[in-house]
Amino acid sequence: MNITLRVWRQKGPDDEGRLATYKLTDVSPDMSFLEMLDVLNEKLTLENEEPVAFDHDCREGICGACGVVIDGEAHGPERTTTCQLHMRSFKDGDTITVEPWRAQAFPVVKDLVVNRSAFDRIIQAGGYISAPTGTAPDAHANPVPKPDADRAFDAATCIGCGACVAACPNASSMLFTAAKVTHLGMLPQGQPERASRVVKMINQQDEEDFGGCTNIGECAAVCPVGIPLDTISQLNRDLLGSLSKGVG
């Protein structure tokens, strides 16, 4: 396959960026998108041009490190992570535009690499269950109905990649926050902190300059692990409950 790439190049956080055009020949349809970028980088290096910086690590779709906007879609045309996207999803002769996640809360570090530490701070604000090591009762002390456990699990599969923010027209992180609120809120262990958790996490989210949620649904549509959109409603229910009880 022959592919023309238009890749966002930006030297550093405060530098101007631009789209640079590169041509690649001999791209195999079995390559992953990132392997295609590896090939580009090998070529650039030998041509004395600095390779394109992009985040990636596990390359099996679970660590959440990778993520770029491909032709206007977060993670590209398939519902998966960029590392699991394969070139067979493109056609010979395609021109592909590759841009970084765009959000004020995710400043560009270099090229396609952005800083997502805002997500960590949202978790710090309350995305946990306080259970100091050694204090736990027996694992079977609290049975969890299977549907609750399954829903908690579905929400807990969030990989924190940030595609939801990247795709949201408001650059809102609501799906990320809602996934955590739902995960912990479905479990008996998560109940004691449930009311305060949602308020603290929402406050932190607002402080990070994420936009507000207007229920457009792009987030869930691009989510590589399929975090359901209704987690946002669950968050809202929890939030209304907390506010009406005067929490926060």
Partner: protein
């Protein structure tokens, strides 16, 4: 040439901390004999923890909660991305919730046997004891383990055992456990007890007066080389499987932290013990950057086979039952498809070497779910393995519900690592090593679902009960950046970076890494022998020299420079690779994941030589261009009788 041309034998060593007495009392004894630190004094004691996987995040969260002043580093942009996250299958615990005869003793026994009698009894017993607490801890943190309709936890069985003791969260157990530890860690960050530094890579350890007192790290965004001091340093930096270039490790997984510590005096134990995982997706082309594991839990319901005929290229669905060779079930009727990983991997290699491999490369065997789908229905199979099947389909473009999967072994885990005593302290006082980074409790082969168990055991329960024995003597003398050892360590780091950037040769870092990987896989992979290993050592030396002459790294240090990061890591892999080959060469026996073709039974199974090799090989760095020094730690078995493993 004999193997003695490659190393020097030094004095034997012992684990001085290991308690004696009845095995089930040893951990209690050690906890009781260890010095304690008064909670009020903990704030004055600082601990650096490098790595935020299961072993690092759990240790940071626990020590932070206990009141120590913790500084944590990871190279990823968030601690949540450490590679523990990719573990799929599950975590073992001797809960005996199934009432199927499991016990702490049986988990201990299975692990010692699975490790082919090359691990320490005391450590393994402690691991089995601790396993029970881990599950409780994780459930309390909100880890959504799989449950049954009654609301209680579900279990499944895993390779190498006959009981159901594996707890799991669909095919994403590592992710869920790590997120639990990560959340506990972030809670401590918020509480101010842990200072988290992401996108920081440790490049050197600072040793002052024989004690580990700090690290040199590079801020991967600005390139700043920073000096950090503490009263103790913990390395939880994972394994070194990426020395093979193609492995199931993350692209960033590397040996640098442990290797730099090794060069500063920490012994490196059993480097040649690598685990080749039997169920990975086969290689598709030379652009391939990594291999993807399919959880071994698939072997619970999938059946492994190859055609009986050589070079049978028919569609697998067209091959009739009697022309298929379910070779694991045939050779190992008792364990069938659930034999330990090393055995399953080698069996796959053998049938492929015979020319019966499948797929275009001939390097693959079928993992077939047709029977399972017939027996349980597609829905049940989907519920159990859905995400793995989806992943397989995404990568290969084939639908595994219809066509059998193709699998092939790939490097997955390294049992070797820095030598530690019962307290998890390395041979450098004050330098502790947890998780895969230490030479651990797995001996020569790790059983499935035991890595997560060990990482969390070390981080939540072992280290927090042993590091106090060392810290009780602190706080140690305050240091500043002008200390000669700190200056020297920093200078080592900067001069190496300057060197890498100044060569401006003609080959990319990846091209060296790939070549190293080929050498390692060819000669130090599933099957090793004297001739190949000798050749490999020679070729690695040449390659290393060429690397330092001809590598091409563009850009500067003062920016995000991923090529420079890789170059730093590959430089260390090029040294480690040689030591692995020397270790493999010196161990003239087969055991677990280490298979020497010169040492096998008549029917091709690994043949140990317990009289000669029942020891831990702990290697001391001999100095630049000098031979490494071998220290032997004898292994004694008081409880489990050493015998030839048999899974037939």
């Amino acid at each position: 040439m004999s193997e003695y041309d490659f190393f020097i034998e030094g004095d034997p060593i012992r684990d001085e901390k290991a308690p004696e007495g009845p095995i089930n009392e040893r951990w209690d004894k050690r906890r009781f004999s260890a010095k304690l630190v008064n909670p009020a004094n903990r704030r004055k004691l600082s601990v650096i923890i490098v790595g935020t996987g299961l072993a690092g995040a759990s240790a940071a969260a626990t020590l932070g909660e206990a009141g120590y002043n913790v500084t944590s580093f990871c190279y990823q942009d968030s601690p949540r991305r450490a590679h523990s996250i990719a573990a799929q299958g599950g975590i073992n615990a001797a809960k005996n919730y199934r009432n199927d005869g499991d016990s702490i003793y049986r988990l201990f026994y299975d692990t010692v046997k699975g490790g082919d009698f090359r691990s320490r009894e005391s450590n393994v017993y402690r691991l089995a004891q601790t396993s029970v607490e881990i599950i409780d801890q994780c459930v309390a943190q909100g880890v959504p383990f799989a449950r049954e309709y009654g609301g209680l936890l579900d279990n499944r069985s895993f390779g190498g055992v006959q009981v159901s003791r594996t707890f799991y969260a669909r095919g994403q157990t590592g992710q869920q456990l790590l997120i639990g530890a990560y959340q506990a860690l972030e809670r401590q960050v918020a509480a101010g007890t842990v200072q988290m530094n992401t996108r920081h890579e440790m490049l050197e350890v600072i040793v002052v007066d024989g004690k580990a007192r700090g690290v040199i790290v590079r801020d991967m965004v600005t390139g700043e080389i920073e000096t950090h001091f503490a009263d103790a340093v913990v390395l939880a930096t994972g394994g070194y499987g990426n020395v093979f270039f193609l492995s199931t490790n993350a692209m960033g997984s590397n040996v640098t932290a442990t290797w730099r510590a090794h060069r500063k005096g920490a012994l490196f134990a059993n480097p040649c013990y690598t685990q080749i995982h039997p169920t990975c997706i086969p290689v598709s082309g030379d652009y391939q950057s990594k291999l993807t594991l399919m959880s071994e839990s698939l072997r619970n319901d999938g059946r492994i086979w190859v055609p009986k005929k050589h070079g049978d290229t028919r569609d697998p669905r067209q091959i009739p039952e009697d022309e298929r060779d379910y070779y694991l079930e045939r050779i190992y009727p008792a364990f069938g498809n659930l034999v330990p990983r090393d055995i399953a991997s080698r069996a796959a290699k053998n049938v492929c070497d015979e020319g019966r491999g499948v797929g275009t490369s001939g390097l693959g065997v079928y993992l077939d779910f047709a029977d399972a789908i017939g027996r349980m229905g597609q829905e049940a199979v989907e519920a159990k393995y859905g995400n793995l099947f989806d992943m397989y389909q995404r990568i290969t473009g084939e639908n595994p519900y219809e066509v059998p999967m193709r699998i092939y072994p790939a490097v997955h885990y390294t049992m070797g690592g820095l030598w530690v005593d019962y307290d998890l302290q390395s041979s450098i006082p004050g330098l502790f090593v947890t998780g895969e980074a230490n030479f651990s409790d797995h001996g020569a082969n790790r059983l499935g679902a035991s890595a997560l168990m060990q990482g969390l055991a070390d981080g939540y329960f072992v280290l927090p009960n042993t590091i106090n024995d060392y810290l009780a003597d602190g706080p140690f003398e305050a240091l500043d950046e002008s200390h000669p050892e700190a200056v020297a360590a920093k200078e080592q780091v900067t001069s190496r970076i300057d060197k890498l950037l100044s060569i401006q040769g003609s080959r990319t870092v990846d091209s060296f890494h790939k070549e190293l990987g080929h050498i390692m896989w060819e000669y130090c992979g599933m099957e090793r022998n004297e001739e190949g290993l000798t050749k490999a050592i020679e070729r690695i030396r040449e390659l290393r020299a060429e690397f330092w002459r001809d590598v091409k790294v563009l850009g500067t240090n003062e920016e995000l420079n991923q090529a420079l990061e890789k170059a730093n890591r590959v430089a260390d892999f090029l040294e480690l690779g040689e030591l692995m080959c020397i270790d493999a060469l010196h161990r003239r026996e087969s055991c677990g994941g280490h298979f020497r073709s010169e040492s096998q039974t008549e029917d091709g199974e690994a043949l140990r030589h317990d009289d000669e090799f029942a020891y831990v090989a702990a290697w001391e760095f001999g100095g630049e261009d000098s031979k490494p020094v071998l220290h032997k730690e004898a292994l004694e078995y008081e409880y489990v009788e050493m015998k030839q493993r048999s899974y037939k």
